[in-house]
Symmetry: C2
Subunit: 412 residues, 2 copies
């Protein structure tokens, strides 16, 4: 156990300092803004972030109650607004979404109870800032209440797992009631009714503090230090869409973002916003991060809210990754960069690559159907062809449709 | 009919001048390179284009026979190389791919025969440059041998349609033989054996000049000035992969790039390079252009070669688009920007946004399977869930998987 609150804070801060290797800039957007002339920056932004309703995305100002929390507790705070066209027969459906990215607070050597309570007490300030900003739907990152210890293959970290109605859910239910806010709580779940099975789960808490339901991660990585298949199995909850007071939402947890079919399924079930609580590191995925989310938003005519863990987490015992690197004791740098993508191909700038942060985004959900009508992707999708192909592909005797050049001389 | 060759060239050049509204810069990459300090540019490039085998993509130098053609005939010429890791049991499978983007040469008021032969004679220089550069597989843009007249809804442009073994195929078969090159020829097809039906088709010519087979565009747009469903219907050729002397290739024509299932199907059939010959304009799709291609390459562990028409085409009779804009007589600016995306999330810079161009890219096809092994997307895809969901979705009585918050008060 450690000493004073101040000491704890100082130890915690140390973990959140960016390593030199990543260059220390906060986001691509800010780097470009600082280095380009305004007219060039505007054109570059148009190409990189797209335009919404014919113009650059608008920042919005937040109340002093929120900005002062961000200054006092040193987290990034940004806010933007997506517009939709006015319709004659439907009212606007304006929703404010909040995304929180957080580092761990205490070293991984601290008592587990301290580690968890440290994170909860720190994240509380960002939840309060979301409440003060009028956020309607708030989502936290994957397994936000613990270090991302799956790299270690050590089973003791399973102690962080909680039942659906456990400590963090109860902690967040209070805020859901206080701020009339839907909150998505991605945890490591302990399923006591099924033999203490462990799942990677998002608990959806309604704006009256009730638990609406859960979703379990559908696709599990086996890559690099992501030894997650050691800890939990593929989810058994299908692709549920949760109809909340503020719109139809779904959760595609982390590695599921690499699977276009997973995104598609949430779309077929009617999602308007799909959250992607994640934990991913720079060397592995940073150039892919905005591409997959934005593609999913475009292809499925919904909003995608991407959240990534932030900071570098060092573990007590070194581990290897089977990739020829020497043993090491950290997972690499989780690069944050949480952002929201819209169905019209526009996108917010990203939160910091190394600081905790809250991204507040207002959107008119009418944009989803407007883009379905504009591009017609659903109507031109010819699903019958693909249902048949996938059924055939499942057969072990599947023969691909290949047309061989009869004049070809195969290379050795 | 028009006058001298020189006059023709001058009239043609006028069409290829970029309008002021797009700012006149050639590509995002070049704009950033010209405006950022080298160290900042390198970091921005890492985030925007990714790294290949741990370093920035390498440019390669081309023979003087190619560079002199590009100077003489004023087309953009760029060349890059993707690497893969060395394997112990498989040899490298190095392939050079060429992509050609072209504007029309004569005004759309010229005699159709002149319009077509003007394009062929101009594109010939780029095909020769590809041959001189050792290109193994060459692909042209969608309906490259005609103006993209589908905006007009006038049926007279159907005269440009050709049978599979028609004028442009015969024209390209010579080059296929001469340069030992596979050539993909995307045409407007006239299917005389099926009641003069018109299709949007890619003819695959083998490196011995033989026709290996065809693929017809699977998904047809009904958006903006893309009145293509007025001219041809959804293709009936499935998702063929063509096994050529240089690897397994497929063609996803234009609007098909918005459909993740279409990309997936070519992957399930074993494609290593998927070509996306396209015609799309700035206002509609420019921020989406790299996202969809790169996502497809990542998700399906293959290379994607994206080609877009270039220039602004003006038609004799004005037309409306049903979007509240006044009648107009041009389609907007086709922004070129052809490029190649790799399965490791790296990507070449793009060709010019307003000049004709040839992009030469060398790649080791072994990278595809290496990325399948690294990320494991195929093995973690759980296709059985999606085959079942799509089958259910096809049912008119399909009920989405929705969990309603029972405490919710619906908004008006």
């Amino acid at each position: 156990m450690m000493g004073s609150q101040q000491q704890r804070e100082e130890e915690g801060r140390a973990i959140r300092t960016p390593p030199d290797s990543i260059g220390g800039f906060e986001s691509l957007h800010r780097l470009l803004e600082a280095n380009l002339k305004p007219d060039v920056f505007q054109e570059v932004s148009r190409l990189l972030l797209g335009f919404n309703c014919g113009r650059p995305l608008e920042p919005i100002s937040l109340p002093e109650a929120a900005t002062s929390l961000s200054e006092e507790h040193d987290f990034d705070l940004q806010a933007f607004s997506f517009h939709a066209d006015k319709e004659l027969l439907r009212k606007e459906r304006i929703v404010r979404v909040g995304l929180i990215q957080n580092s761990i607070v205490f070293p991984t050597t601290a008592h587990f109870a301290d580690q968890k309570s440290g994170i909860l007490q720190h994240v509380k300030h960002m939840v309060d800032a979301a409440g003060a900003s009028g956020v309607n739907i708030l989502c936290l990152q994957e397994a936000w209440m613990m270090p991302f210890a799956f790299c270690t293959r050590e089973k003791r970290w399973c102690e962080f797992a909680e039942p659906v109605n456990g400590e963090t859910t109860q902690f967040l239910q209070e805020f859901a009631r206080k701020y009339n806010m839907v909150i998505i709580n991605p945890i490591l779940e302990r399923d006591v009714n099924h033999g203490d099975t462990i799942w990677n789960t998002a608990v959806v808490i309604g704006n009256h503090g009730n638990i609406i339901g859960i979703h379990r991660k559908n696709h599990i990585p086996r890559v690099g230090d992501f030894n997650e298949s050691t800890y939990y199995m593929e989810g058994n909850t299908g692709h549920p869409v949760f109809e909340t007071s503020y719109g139809k939402i779904a959760i595609n947890i982390c590695y599921g973002r690499h699977h276009p079919l997973n995104w598609l399924a949430f779309g077929l079930n009617g999602a308007e916003i799909v959250f992607n609580p994640s934990a991913t590191v720079g060397e592995l995925s940073e150039p892919m991060w905005p591409i997959e989310a934005r593609n999913a938003a475009i292809a499925n005519s919904y909003f995608v809210a991407s959240i990534n863990r932030v900071g570098t987490e060092t573990f007590p015992n070194p581990f290897t990754s089977g990739d020829g690197k020497p043993q090491h004791s950290d997972f690499g740098h989780f690069y944050g960069s949480s952002h929201i993508s819209a169905p019209d191909a526009s996108c917010t700038p990203s939160l910091s690559r190394y600081r905790d942060g809250l991204l507040v985004t207002e959107m008119d959900l009418n944009l989803c159907r407007q883009l379905k009508d504009k591009w017609g992707f659903r109507m031109t999708a010819r699903y019958e062809i693909y249902a048949e192909l996938l059924s055939k592909y499942l057969n072990p005797d599947f023969t691909p449709q290949v047309i061989v050049d009869p004049t070809m001389q195969k290379r050795e």
